[in-house]
C-alpha cells in the first residue's frame, strides 16, 4: 500500500489495520467487481473471497447496492448461496433475478434487530455453503466489524456491506471500501463514479463507470486523473 496522508481518524485506523497480505491467493479466490479497470485498481485485482467489501453510497439511489449485487453474482459463479440479511425488509428479489442470480440460490433473512442481524451475518459468513452475504449494517462498532471480517475469513465467504457515506470516516476492517456517487446517465445508461478509498493498488482518482442494459460495467473515463479520459479504454 502506498503512503497515504493521514487526514482523519479513519485514515489512522485504516493505516493501523491494513489489508492483510496473503500472497497464495489464486485467481479463483478473487471475485471480479464486474469491471476490468476497477479490478486493476484493487490490490488483489478484484475482491478476495473470505474478505469484506464495503460499498458506500452517496444517497439511496446511487448504485452502491447495484455494485454489491454485481459482485455477489460473480461470487456465485462457483456455486454456493447468496444470503441477504435485510433488517429493513426492503430487498426486492425480482431485481436480483434480473441480474442473473437465480431465486432458488437466494436466502433472505429478516432479523428484527440490528443485533440479531449482525449475529445472522456472522453465522452466514462462517458457513461453507454460502458464497456471499449481502447486508446493510448502518452502525458497526470496530469490534463487530472485526468479528465480521474474521467470520468471512473463516468461511471463505465474500461479505458485501452496503452503507451510507456516513461510514466513510469510521474505521474499516474491509479489504476494499469504495464510494459510489451518482452521475448523469448517458443515452439511457446508468452512470456512477467509483472512488476506491481502501484496498487500492495505487492512489488515483475516481472512475466513471457505465452500466448497460445487461448490467455489464465498463469504464467511461478516469475522473480527477492525469491520464487523458478514455485513452486506455478497452474495447
Amino acid at each position: 500500500m502506498s503512503a497515504v496522508p493521514l487526514e482523519t481518524t479513519a485514515d489512522v485506523w485504516n493505516a493501523l489495520c491494513p489489508v492483510v497480505d496473503s500472497p497464495q491467493l489464486g485467481p479463483r479466490d478473487v471475485v471480479s467487481s464486474g469491471c476490468a479497470e476497477l479490478d486493476e485498481r484493487l490490490v488483489r485485482n478484484g475482491v478476495a473471497k473470505g474478505a469484506l467489501l464495503e460499498s458506500l453510497g452517496a444517497g439511496d439511489g446511487a448504485g452502491a447496492a447495484f455494485l454489491a449485487v454485481n459482485a455477489a453474482r460473480n461470487a456465485l459463479a462457483d456455486g454456493g448461496a447468496l444470503v441477504v440479511v435485510d433488517v429493513q425488509d426492503s430487498f426486492y428479489p425480482s431485481a436480483a433475478v434480473r441480474f442473473g442470480i437465480a431465486s432458488e440460490r437466494m436466502l433472505i433473512v429478516r432479523p428484527s434487530t440490528e443485533r440479531e442481524a449482525l449475529w445472522a451475518c456472522e453465522q452466514a459468513l462462517r458457513s461453507a455453503g454460502v458464497a456471499a452475504v449481502l447486508c446493510w449494517p448502518e452502525y458497526l462498532t470496530p469490534l463487530a466489524f472485526r468479528r465480521l471480517q474474521l467470520a468471512a475469513e473463516e468461511g471463505g465467504t465474500l461479505g458485501l456491506l452496503v452503507r451510507s457515506t456516513r461510514a466513510q470516516h469510521e474505521p474499516s476492517w474491509a479489504d476494499v471500501r469504495w464510494l459510489v456517487s451518482p452521475a448523469p446517465s448517458e443515452a439511457g445508461r446508468r452512470r456512477f463514479s467509483v472512488d476506491v478509498l481502501r484496498g487500492q493498488s495505487r492512489r488515483d482518482g475516481a472512475l466513471l463507470l457505465e452500466a448497460d442494459d445487461e448490467g455489464a460495467l465498463c469504464m467511461v473515463s478516469r475522473l480527477a486523473d492525469s491520464a487523458p479520459a478514455g485513452s486506455e479504454r478497452r474495447a
Binding site: 453510497g57 431485481a95 434480473r98 436466502l107 455453503g129
Partner: protein
C-alpha cells in the same frame, strides 16, 4: 351450502328437500344426516392445511377458523395480499369462505359471519365502529340472551355499547359483558392454536426444577432419545414442538424447531433447542417439559440439492446454517423468494420458509428455474429496494397532464427529475372491490439518483415504490 353444480340447477342453501325436488333437472335427492363428528374432523383437517397461512391457527365454534397473521403477513406481501392468497387457496380447494381481518377474534368472527362480503378488512383500531351496525347475534351469544335482547328492542351491537354495564350484567349475565369486551378488545382473547395429534411425544416433570442449561440438557437428551425411538425406520424429525412449564408461570409456553431435512441426530436437535433457549431468557426455572414431533419426513439416502449448483455447494453446511438461523430468528424470518406471475410488483414475489416444511424436507428438490428468466433489456425495470408500503408523494408536478413526473418532494426535500423511463402500466383484475391500476416510471433526479415512482390512475396520486440503490 350449495355447490356450483347444484346452484346452476336452482338449489340454494337452506332450501327444503320438497322444494328442491320440484326443480327442473333434479331426478333424485339423497338426504344425509348432519354428522357433527365428521364436521369437526373436516374442520381440524382444514386447520392443519391452513398452517401454511399462519403459524397460529385456531378453531372457533363448529364452522370457523381463526388465524393470527401479525407475524406472517409480510411473507405474503402484506395483509391485503395475504387475505387474497387465503381466499384463492380456499377457492382452488373448492371451498367457499368468508374472511374478515380485525383487531380482535370476536370482531373478526362477527364480521365474517354477518358482513355479507367475501373479504372484510377492518383497519387497525376501527373494529368498534365496524361492529356497531351488526346484529347482537354477532357477539356469539346464547339463543336465550338474543331472545331477551330482542324482546327489549335491542337488535344492534351499537345499541348495547351505550347501555350501562352493571345493569346489563345484572340483567343478562356476565357472559354478554365478556363477549362484548372480547369483541371490543378490552378483554383479551388469545387464539389457541389447534394442534394435530403429534407423531410422537415425550414429557418430563421435575421434582427439582432446572434453572441451568446443563441440567436441562440432560433432561432433553433423554427425552430426545425416547422420541427418536418412537419414530419408524428411515424417518426423521422435520418439526419439533417444545412446551415448557416454568415455576410460578402459567400457562405453559413453547417454541417450535424446524429442520430443512429430516434428522435423527440428537446432537443437532439439542443445539437448535439451545439457540431458542438462549433467546428466551427465562426468569424462572423449568419444572416441566414436553416434546412433540409435529412433522416427520423420510430421510433421503442421497443429499438432495437445496440450492442446486456447482463446486462451492455444501448442502449440509447450508442446511445447518438455515436451521440455526430459523431456530434463533424464527421460521418466518428465514425465507426463500419465489417469483410468481403477478402483475402487481408487491405480489410478484412469494416468500417461503425453508424449515419445517414437508414438501421441501422431502426427497424432491425444488423446481429448477432458469437463472435469468427476464429478458436482459428489462434489467432496470425493477429496483433493488422496494417500499413495503408505497410512500405517498406530495407536490408532484408533471410536465403535462397524465405525463411523466417533473419534480417531487420526499421527506421535505425537493427532487427535480431530469430523465424518465416509462410508463409501464400495471393493471390487475378484481381486487378487494377495485382494481390496481398504476403507471410506473423509473426516474433520474438532478443529482443522479434513480427512483421508481407510480401514478395511481384512479385518482392521479403519486407514490414512491422503490430505489435503484
Amino acid at each position: 351450502m350449495a355447490s356450483p353444480e347444484a346452484r346452476a340447477l336452482g338449489v340454494t342453501s337452506g332450501m327444503r328437500a320438497a322444494e328442491a325436488s320440484g326443480l327442473k333437472g333434479i331426478t333424485a335427492i339423497h338426504l344425509f344426516e348432519r354428522d357433527p363428528y365428521a364436521d369437526r374432523r373436516a374442520l381440524e383437517q382444514l386447520a392443519a392445511w391452513c398452517e401454511q397461512f399462519s403459524p397460529c391457527v385456531g378453531l372457533l365454534g363448529t364452522d370457523a377458523l381463526t388465524f393470527d397473521i401479525r407475524s406472517s403477513s409480510r411473507l405474503f406481501g402484506g395483509e391485503v395480499p395475504h387475505l387474497e392468497t387465503i381466499r384463492r387457496a380456499f377457492r382452488e380447494r373448492g371451498l367457499q369462505c368468508r374472511l374478515a381481518l380485525a383487531d380482535t377474534v370476536g370482531a373478526a368472527w362477527a364480521l365474517a359471519q354477518f358482513n355479507r362480503q367475501t373479504v372484510t378488512n377492518v383497519a387497525p383500531r376501527r373494529h368498534a365502529s365496524a361492529l356497531e351496525t351488526l346484529p347482537v347475534q354477532a357477539l356469539r351469544l346464547e339463543e336465550k340472551t338474543v331472545a331477551d335482547l330482542h324482546s327489549l328492542g335491542l337488535e344492534r351491537i351499537g345499541q348495547l355499547v351505550e347501555l350501562p354495564r352493571e345493569e346489563m350484567a345484572a340483567r343478562f349475565g356476565d357472559h354478554l359483558i365478556k363477549r362484548m369486551d372480547q369483541a371490543l378488545g378490552t378483554c383479551p382473547e388469545p387464539i389457541v392454536p389447534y394442534q394435530p395429534e403429534p407423531v410422537a411425544s415425550a414429557r418430563w416433570t421435575g421434582e427439582s426444577p432446572a434453572d441451568r442449561w446443563e441440567l436441562l440438557e440432560t433432561v432433553l437428551d433423554s427425552l430426545l432419545r425416547r422420541l427418536l425411538e418412537q419414530l419408524p425406520v428411515n424417518t426423521g424429525i422435520v418439526r419439533l414442538r417444545c412446551r415448557l412449564q416454568c415455576e410460578k408461570r402459567d400457562p405453559a409456553f413453547g417454541f417450535t424447531i424446524g429442520l430443512v431435512r429430516p434428522t435423527t441426530q440428537q446432537k443437532r436437535l439439542l443445539e437448535l433447542i439451545r439457540l431458542q433457549w438462549e433467546s428466551l431468557r427465562l426468569a424462572a426455572p423449568v419444572s416441566g417439559l414436553r416434546l412433540d414431533v409435529a412433522e416427520t419426513g423420510i430421510k433421503a439416502t442421497r443429499q438432495n440439492d437445496l440450492f442446486p449448483s456447482a463446486t462451492r455447494d455444501d448442502p449440509r453446511a447450508l442446511a445447518d446454517l438455515i436451521e440455526r438461523l430459523s431456530a434463533r430468528l424464527g421460521r418466518e424470518s428465514v425465507v426463500r423468494p419465489r417469483l410468481v406471475r403477478e402483475a402487481q410488483p408487491e405480489l410478484a414475489v412469494r416468500y417461503e420458509p425453508v424449515v419445517g416444511t414437508k414438501s421441501l424436507a422431502g426427497t424432491k428438490s425444488p423446481p429448477k428455474q432458469k437463472a435469468s428468466s427476464a429478458s436482459p433489456q428489462r434489467l432496470w425495470q425493477r429496483p433493488i429496494h422496494i417500499e413495503r408500503r408505497p410512500i405517498p408523494l406530495l407536490h408532484v408536478t408533471a410536465s403535462f397532464p397524465l405525463g411523466p413526473p417533473a419534480r417531487f418532494q420526499l421527506r421535505g426535500e425537493e427532487h427535480r427529475i431530469v430523465r424518465t423511463w416509462g410508463p409501464e402500466r400495471i393493471e390487475t383484475s378484481w381486487w378487494r372491490g377495485r382494481m390496481v391500476r398504476r403507471d410506473y416510471y423509473r426516474v433520474e433526479t438532478s443529482d443522479g439518483q434513480w427512483y421508481w415512482l407510480y401514478r395511481r390512475l384512479q385518482d392521479g396520486k403519486w407514490f414512491l415504490h422503490g430505489r435503484f440503490a
